[in-house]
């Protein structure tokens, strides 16, 4: 699994090794069946098992009907309604219809699902999953204790080992190279973190499966690696991102950590309280109180904070009063132990609090990007020019970094793993078709472009390392003495800049936004953060395992993405699903029942929503 055997070209290169990337690889190889297998490389900045898919807890949605009667049409409807009608219904229909075979396929791949007495897969209730088109709640989320993501990730990785998939672990892709016309794929340029060397990899087909960008925000449930690399690569290649402003916030992230405290904590009797100790949710959602929809609770918390009734995160005593209390003191120790062991452990370990005695600070935490690289239902990346979509030959995307349109303005619980596994397989399957076509594409077969870009990137890396200081000689027997030519740790430090950006994005876009704040944030990008990004550099010149090099690239990605999200937020002058504009508090179907498209320069275009079966209605639960 080391880099020694990485070749300079493959039929298919997949970037990212989470549920989407591994599903794409398996979809490709399954499509090949017993025939000749295309060569495939999965390239990832993490060893596959470290991917963030492993943190998914709740379940994967499918109308298996194991627990009670269910129907894929109900799942379809719930997905459309949950997304506040900004859902492409052709894609949502596919998602709901093929959910069953996806989940069964995962079971056959070895996933250790929880089981019913009759030996079938267990399913549980999730917010927004209903029977009869919005009627009673239905058990639709297939689960595996509270560790579904880890078990799916393990099994997909195991299946890839079985099929002998080649992995390039801990390689960071720096450049996506399309043909000069932008209509087909040439390959990519990547930094091998193990050596610090820059490589080109030619590809006839290329799939971006890099996950989300929760690290745009300081408070996020996402891992440190969710820096939106694939989306930034697409922007750099001249492509637009779809619905970049639509970001889901989970209401109960633990104080300063952002780690999720499951909805089950409120299901078992937990109550949200403001600084005065008052339970406030009944004022915002009289029918559902503390069990209202995720976006409703997040907005209610934000409203309390905005009205000065927030509390300080004890982990950041000098910070803003932007938390509220989660009161779990009414839950008995037995119930806590039996049904909320993970919640209990997280609070004790990461806040040092005893939920039986102490109020727990919580705040909404950035959780999921509904938008991303625009794709069709076969995973083809779409390039939008003058209002027309055109497929980029050989370029695919899947999972959270992509936007097939199934999540609309608010993702339904259990649909993210499903999206990644299902549309990943579809992308892989189509990529097989593409690379086996008699006149298969694969760019101009003229590697000049690729070599050019690699040359530029090598120069970039050399320049960055040169700015780490002149200390290239042997550090000497006494250790690594700090040399006067080495820059101070705070100068050009990518970790610091990423944190500053996260705090700015928390203030500006988390849960709610308005024009003035967005404009001021854009202004700060222009005059402070973007110029600071140009000054980033590592502080050690040794190229081998120089994590700071990667951090510089990641921070650059985040800044490009922040601009795109801010611009798209500015232009969507309505409130819909997870997206709340304080200055435009209502949904506006006349003007904004459409997807935004934002490119690297901040230019905004719009594309229509595919409405097939369900005309826009109200989103009330």
């Amino acid at each position: 699994m080391g880099p020694a055997h990485i070749k300079t070209g493959y039929d298919v290169v997949i970037v990212g090794a989470g549920a989407a990337g591994l599903s794409t690889a398996l979809g490709l190889l399954d499509a090949a069946g017993s025939g000749a297998k295309p060569s495939v490389l999965v390239i990832s900045k993490l060893q596959p098992l470290r991917s963030h898919t492993g943190s998914a807890e709740g379940g994967i949605a499918a109308s298996l009907g194991n627990e009670e009667q269910d129907d894929w049409r109900w799942h379809y409807y719930d997905t459309v309604k949950g997304g506040d009608w900004l859902v492409d219904q052709d894609a949502a229909k596919l998602l709901a219809r093929q959910a069953r075979s996806t989940v069964i396929g995962l079971e056959h791949a070895g996933v250790a699902f929880s089981r019913r007495e009759d030996g079938r897969i267990s399913q549980r209730r999730f917010g927004g999953h209903t029977a009869d088109f919005g009627g009673r709640p239905v058990k639709r989320a297939a689960y595996a204790a509270d560790r579904i993501g880890h078990r799916i990730l393990s099994s997909l990785w195991q299946q890839c080992l079985k099929r002998g998939v080649t992995f390039a672990d801990e390689w960071y892709v720096t450049d996506l190279v399309l043909s000069a016309t932008g209509t087909s794929v040439e390959g990519l340029v990547a930094l091998d973190e193990n050596t610090g060397t820059v490589h080109t990899i030619r590809a006839r087909a290329l799939a971006l499966c890099t996950g989300g960008a929760g690290r745009l925000f300081h408070t996020t449930s996402n891992s440190w690696d969710l820096t939106g690399d694939g989306m930034a690569l697409a922007l750099d290649a001249g492509l637009a991102l779809e619905d970049a402003e639509l970001i889901q916030f989970h209401p109960t992230g633990l104080g300063h950590t952002g780690i999720l405290l499951s909805e089950a904590a409120r299901g078992e009797g937990g109550v949200l309280r403001n600084a005065d100790g008052d339970p406030f949710m009944h004022r915002y959602a009289p029918r559902h109180g503390d069990l209202a929809a995720r976006d409703v609770i997040s907005r209610s918390i934000a409203a309390e904070v905005d009205q000065g009734r927030g509390v300080t995160d004890p982990g950041d005593p000098d910070g803003p009063r932007d938390c509220v209390w989660l009161d779990l003191r009414g839950i008995s120790a037995q119930v806590m132990h039996a049904r909320l062991p993970q919640v209990d452990e997280t609070i004790r370990r990461y806040a040092g609090l005893n939920p039986g005695h102490d109020l727990v600070p919580v705040k909404p935490t950035a959780h999921y990007m509904m938008g991303g690289i625009p794709i069709d239902t076969d995973g083809h990346v779409l390039s939008w020019q003058g209002g027309q979509a055109q497929v980029v030959d050989g370029l695919y995307a899947a999972g959270e970094c992509s936007c097939v349109g199934v999540h609309g303005a608010n993702r339904l619980g259990g649909n993210s793993l499903l999206d990644a596994c299902l549309f990943g397989r579809r992308a892989g399957s189509d990529a097989y078709r593409f690379v086996t076509m008699p006149a298969a594409g694969g760019g101009s077969h003229n590697h000049e472009l690729l070599d050019q870009r690699a040359g530029r990137r090598r120069q970039d890396v050399t320049d960055l390392l040169a700015r780490a200081g002149k200390k290239v000689e042997d550090p000497g027997e006494d250790g690594d003495r700090r040399d006067s030519t080495v820059p101070a740790p705070e100068d050009g430090n990518p970790y610091r800049l990423a944190e500053q950006l996260g705090r700015l994005m928390d203030r500006t876009l988390a849960v709610r936004c308005e024009a003035e704040g967005i404009s001021s944030a854009l202004n700060r990008l222009d005059h402070e953060l973007d110029p600071a990004a140009d000054r980033l550099h590592p502080h050690d010149p040794s190229p081998v395992w120089n994590q700071e090099l990667t951090a510089v690239f990641e921070t650059r990605s985040l800044l490009r993405l922040a601009r795109a999200a801010l611009q798209a937020s500015l232009e969507r002058k309505e409130s819909r699903g997870s997206f709340k504009r304080l200055d435009y508090p209502h949904r506006d179907d006349d003007n904004y029942l459409r997807h935004s498209l934002v490119n690297r320069t901040g230019h905004i275009g719009w594309s229509p929503v595919h409405i097939e079966d369900f005309p826009p209605g109200s989103r009330r639960y």
């Binding site: 080391g2 070895g110 030996g119 610090g196 891992s223 550090p475 690594d480």
Partner: protein, 332 residues
């Protein structure tokens, strides 16, 4: 945790993080050298020497910072990156014990950086005498360019409000840089046991719409059925996050002996105990080699650090017992 914790939350203490660092020496040619090895198994991976072509410069470095009891060591290392030394290298990702990437030796014991808190380390120093992790040659005084290099080798010298935490790379793994180690040997060993479900011939396939039936599942059902008891036989084993803590704790494996290692054995046990897998007997036989089950000396040091609570030692002991009676896998 006890009733005092609300008060403890306010108590910031000074902490010295002492890190056993390592960095590749520049090549004579000045160009970065690859990790290419003709034979990945030809390496002596014991802690005495990394055995890599790339030579490492090793030293210890102290970082002084303020911390709260509930801060994790990962929190502190990230603070160091932001404020003192962005060049310090260590893997991390999810930050809450699920991804398995941030194993390290914490005061000599394998642990996840994102799970070990300052309070945990404090309990450790109060409970046991300080135990250095490095070899004698690595225990040089710290370099002296830091603001407060302290002679903290003896815990008795630590004041009440000053804590020393010593961090090193996971024992037994070749060091690449600072706390980053090469996990290739572990993952190659896991690959060797064919860690994928190998169902029996009766477990049929299905078409794109999931329309086929599955003989084992009965009419109208598609999944291979499994009772709660059958799931319980391997469920916890499937929680393994491949963090390598058990490998580091195992004196046989981390001592560089020819041993497939506890992580691969847990992976094998996961399938041996899965009622859907048809190859339990063959899998047990495959573990019969000299570097397989027989290399385990049942020291059971592997059980203690497991962040998922797997009793690794018991799991391996169970495999050893079964290998004496291979005709009776648990679920048959």
């Amino acid at each position: 945790m006890n009733g005092k914790q609300q008060a403890d939350n306010q108590s910031i203490r000074r902490v010295t993080i002492r890190i056993h660092r390592a960095k590749p020496m520049p090549d004579h040619a000045g160009a970065p050298s690859g990790r290419h090895r003709s034979n990945p198994f030809a390496t002596d991976h014991g802690p005495a020497g990394p055995g890599r072509r790339q030579r490492l410069k090793r030293w210890t470095q102290d970082y002084l910072l303020d911390a709260r009891p509930e801060d994790t060591l990962l929190d502190l290392l990230l603070t160091i990156k932001r404020e003192q030394d962005p060049g310090l290298a260590f893997r991390y990702s999810c930050g809450h014990g699920m991804c398995g990437s941030d194993g390290a030796a914490v005061n000599g014991k394998p642990a996840l950086l994102c799970e070990a808190t300052v309070a945990d380390c404090q309990a450790y120093t109060q409970a046991a005498p300080f135990r250095p992790t490095g070899t004698g040659s690595e225990r040089r005084p710290s370099p002296g360019h830091l603001d407060q290099p302290g002679p903290f080798h003896d815990p008795a010298q630590l004041s009440q409000d000053h804590l020393l935490v010593e961090l090193g790379p996971l024992p037994g793994f070749p060091v690449l840089r600072d706390l980053i180690v090469d996990t290739t040997l572990m993952f190659d060993a896991i690959d060797q046991i064919h860690p994928w479900l190998q169902p029996g011939p009766a477990d049929g396939a299905l078409d794109a719409e999931g329309a086929a039936t599955n003989p084992k599942g009965g009419p109208g059902s598609l999944e291979v059925r499994q009772t709660k008891d059958q799931l319980a036989a391997y469920e916890q084993l499937s929680d393994c996050i491949d963090c390598g803590l058990c490998e580091a704790a195992c004196p046989i494996w981390s001592g560089g002996e020819a041993f497939i290692g506890p992580a691969a054995l847990v992976a094998a046990a996961r399938f041996i105990h899965d009622s859907r897998d048809d190859r339990a007997i063959q899998r047990l036989e495959d573990l019969g080699g000299e570097d397989g089950l027989s290399a385990c000396q049942s020291i059971r040091a592997c059980s203690r650090p497991c962040p998922r609570g797997i009793d690794v030692g018991e799991t391996i002991w169970d495999l050893i017992e079964r290998s004496h009676h291979p005709q009776q896998p648990s679920h048959l």
